[in-house]
Symmetry: C2
Subunit: 276 residues, 2 copies
């Protein structure tokens, strides 16, 4: 029996996490839910995000039979991981802790810059996770980057300028606090599409860490152990991952833009009503 | 008895309409609702927008006693005016028709450029309203402008570049269709904050029309007639407008950013739950 991994996000940015998961766990089935009727979570309150995220989680577990959940939304991971874990009875993995773990492995100075949405930054979830790993983190909300990605300006001079402005502000603040950051942690699932621009914008030698990649890596460690317990034999031929997509609104936009994030056609997206 | 005018928007951009209304109808009471838990409407489907807008309208009429409604949201005006009018029994005014009327008065060539959100443009509501006034309209979605306004970059070189890029694309398309536009219609309540940049970006002699202003002017004609029927005497001293603010989420952000749109402190904003 092929296990089903449920992946959910406020929109389709989390498809960057799904893509990284498929690369690492190709033998699974995936049910991806984008809560597009209520996006963006990034500008909403903790109470509202927790309610929306719990509804999404229950849909994936109770109606789609997901046996694991990956919360591919930084804002929901930051503000509602507890609420999601309370809402369902399967293991739940967020993206914050894997991101902080990867930053710990990358940083020599122990000082990390984190960029994310407003709500993720205001939660200080990355700061707390980094501190638990002995890192100092300085966070900044970069609300223009998601719209720039969704406009398709992923290799555009305007986007490069916006990134330069945001990073300069962040570096000035870091210097004022006596920090010496050598790692930039991307705390939003849209940002991997701007990876080239970030690589060009950071100081020489600085590392860019992507929490989508980091979360997929952590999931692979957990799920591959579960799928192939020690002593068991691997499947004879790794089957192609089976993908099922759901969205609460704007299915057409999901189908049209999703392939940019997934690096393959999304195909059919089923509209669902979570009652919101 | 002072009448209550209900004004609603998906967020707080509609405060530009409220500001224009207060200038013209200072003797009214106002109840403003920002459906901030579910913004932005601009990227959502007609079905979803209609459901949200009808809930907001009923709140203002049934719970706040509004005797008129102004839909200070271009997307809701474009996609859900019928649904709102069906949901409540008071007169409802949207922003599309007044914007088209003002464009008709401004344009000599009869060719108009309209910029708005995705959903407003896809509805082609401005095109239809302009055509009914004998105008040809070319519409373009400019999804980066709302986030730029909310980031406070209202007088920023990046915003000027983005406007230049959008308007150049629009003018090239207009030229390809043999149009000779002399009027730019701002079809989103956030755009009045960028008015200076638009005035600098349009061709010399071209006019910039703001549908927030146009809607307030239309409302004043309707409501002032109702408030001061012919033969009646004006109130002795025009009282200050009384303002009540409601939001479905992010009250703090509303209070913090709202004053930029209203040009005065917003004060207390009451959180309401519309069940979404």
């Amino acid at each position: 029996m092929t296990p089903t991994i449920g992946v959910f996000d406020s929109g389709f940015g989390g498809l960057t996490v799904l893509r990284a998961l498929i690369e690492r766990i190709p033998q699974a089935q995936y049910a991806f839910l984008g809560d597009t009727a209520r996006l963006p979570y990034g500008s909403k309150s903790r109470r509202t995000i927790a309610r929306y995220a719990a509804q999404s989680a229950r849909f994936l577990v109770e109606q789609q039979g997901a046996e694991f959940l990956v919360v591919a939304c930084n804002t929901a991971s930051a503000l509602a991981l507890d609420a999601i874990q309370a809402a369902v009875s399967v293991p739940v993995l967020g993206v914050i802790e894997p991101g902080a773990t990867a930053a710990r492995a990358a940083s020599r100075t122990g000082d990390v810059l984190v960029i994310a949405t407003d709500a993720t930054v205001q939660s200080h979830a990355y700061s707390a996770a980094c501190r638990a790993h002995g890192l100092r983190a300085l966070e900044k909300a970069c609300p223009l980057l998601v719209p720039l990605v969704e406009e398709g300006w992923v290799d555009h001079s305007v986007t490069a300028q916006v990134i330069e402005i945001y990073l300069n502000e962040l570096r000035q603040e870091a210097a004022a606090q006596g920090m010496n950051p050598d790692t930039l942690l991307l705390g939003c699932t849209h940002y991997p599409l701007l990876r080239n621009l970030f690589e060009q914008a950071v100081r020489p030698g600085a590392k860019v860490i992507d929490s989508a990649e980091a979360a997929a890596q952590a999931a692979a460690q957990i799920f591959n152990g579960w799928l192939s317990p020690p002593g068991s034999s691997l499947p004879e031929a790794p089957p192609n991952a089976q993908l099922h997509f759901f969205a609460t609104d704007s299915v057409e936009k999901f189908e049209r833009l999703g392939s940019r994030f997934l690096h393959r056609p999304v195909g059919h997206v089923q509209l669902v009503d979570l009652g919101g």
